[in-house]
Symmetry: C2
Subunit: 272 residues, 2 copies
Amino acid sequence: MTDAATAFVPGHITGFFSAHPDDDPTKAGSRGAGVALDSGVTVRLEPGDGVELNGESADIEAVDRVLGALRATARVVVETDLPVSAGFGVSGGAALGTALAANAVFDRGLSENELVTIAHGAEVQAGTGLGDVVAQARGGFPVRLEPGAPAHGAMDGIPAVRDIEYVTFGELSTADVLSDNTDELTAAGQRALSSLVAEPTVETFMEASRRFAREAGLLTPPVEEAIESVADADGEASMAMLGETVFALDGGLSAAGYDATQCAVCLPGAHL
Amino acid sequence: MTDAATAFVPGHITGFFSAHPDDDPTKAGSRGAGVALDSGVTVRLEPGDGVELNGESADIEAVDRVLGALRATARVVVETDLPVSAGFGVSGGAALGTALAANAVFDRGLSENELVTIAHGAEVQAGTGLGDVVAQARGGFPVRLEPGAPAHGAMDGIPAVRDIEYVTFGELSTADVLSDNTDELTAAGQRALSSLVAEPTVETFMEASRRFAREAGLLTPPVEEAIESVADADGEASMAMLGETVFALDGGLSAAGYDATQCAVCLPGAHL
């Protein structure tokens, strides 16, 4: 390793999803839809070892798995303004950013699909996500029509550009939710996807996401209250999967009196 | 129609390709690879009718076909700094931009894949391109692994960001080249794709593109001279398919003494 490299991966909020486990981590994944954010994860690879997240030593299993798959030894410096463990795809972003940067630094000569596959598989095996990586690789409002890495999955997108706001009340463990029985959640996610495919607009996405959060039983009192407050102020909000986080279109949360963070849709996917 | 809408579509240079005709325009297309440029095509839809290209009335069959497919009547105002009919995907960009803008203005509620499919089919039926539209929808260094619109085709990408220069010596008619016997061209394109898939780097892309241009018999004297001059100055250049245009990495053409236009890779695909 002679050089350093930096990759940027957009944050990603999932609005609804269904879980599709498989023994093959490149086939496992989720269907669903979300939005990529211009606030994201920056990953820098330097000589050394260990993983650092916002200046502190961290343990991100998906990152370790990516380094192992690429036979790479390096120090991985991850920086993000996004809340961690709150539904923004920080672990998936760290994994995908590590794959992109390691490929550049170690001249591994892999394609985008191959790097996305490695990062997706690492995230699935770590149990920390099922669909963020493929969505973060695409950008925009990604729709996951079929689960899995590029060779198996299928993606579409909602053709729209919007400002997004979010507020976070706490953490939810993706691993805990995914290790529970996900039958009901997955049935609700499939219904949400059907309605979005019938009319792939941002408004349908938000409505399907709200219905999903209710039906999947994931709402917490502060999340429910925030979504209702935004609706009362004629805005559109829903819950980020999986975090105790509410996201809204445009200035919806501010209009409802919340101290929200502003960002926008990120059109490019993950890149060096 | 009550509103106006504007879409941006990156320019796209194809480095090599193989032609894959099919009676179904959504299955027809090309395999190959290229680069999306941050210099592109802006398409604005306004009330009225007719198509305007850089301030002059124009006839772009692919645009008319997109409007027909979306049952849309509008004035289509296309603006671009790119040379027309010189291998930059201006007609594909106009078609895809029209699809994105018409979907927004007329609330057609179609997804990105559906809009790309309509624009790709329109471009194929007009005979003006086989692969620019799907590449322009993706951005970056798009690799077309399988021909056709999203439901049939398959894409990958080279994970790289580079500056690009180009110089144009004249026009080539895509329709004329594609209406000739393309067997030899397609065999050369398949060989080029195999070498790029084995090592998906920008350097392999440029080398495979140069070999393709030679083997397909498309080089003209000024194009050949420019590519050689860039190589003599330790740069990397090849020919844009299909135009009498040479493109180079970084400052390759300037270093060889050409008065070249600078741009960069466009990471986001086509968008509103």
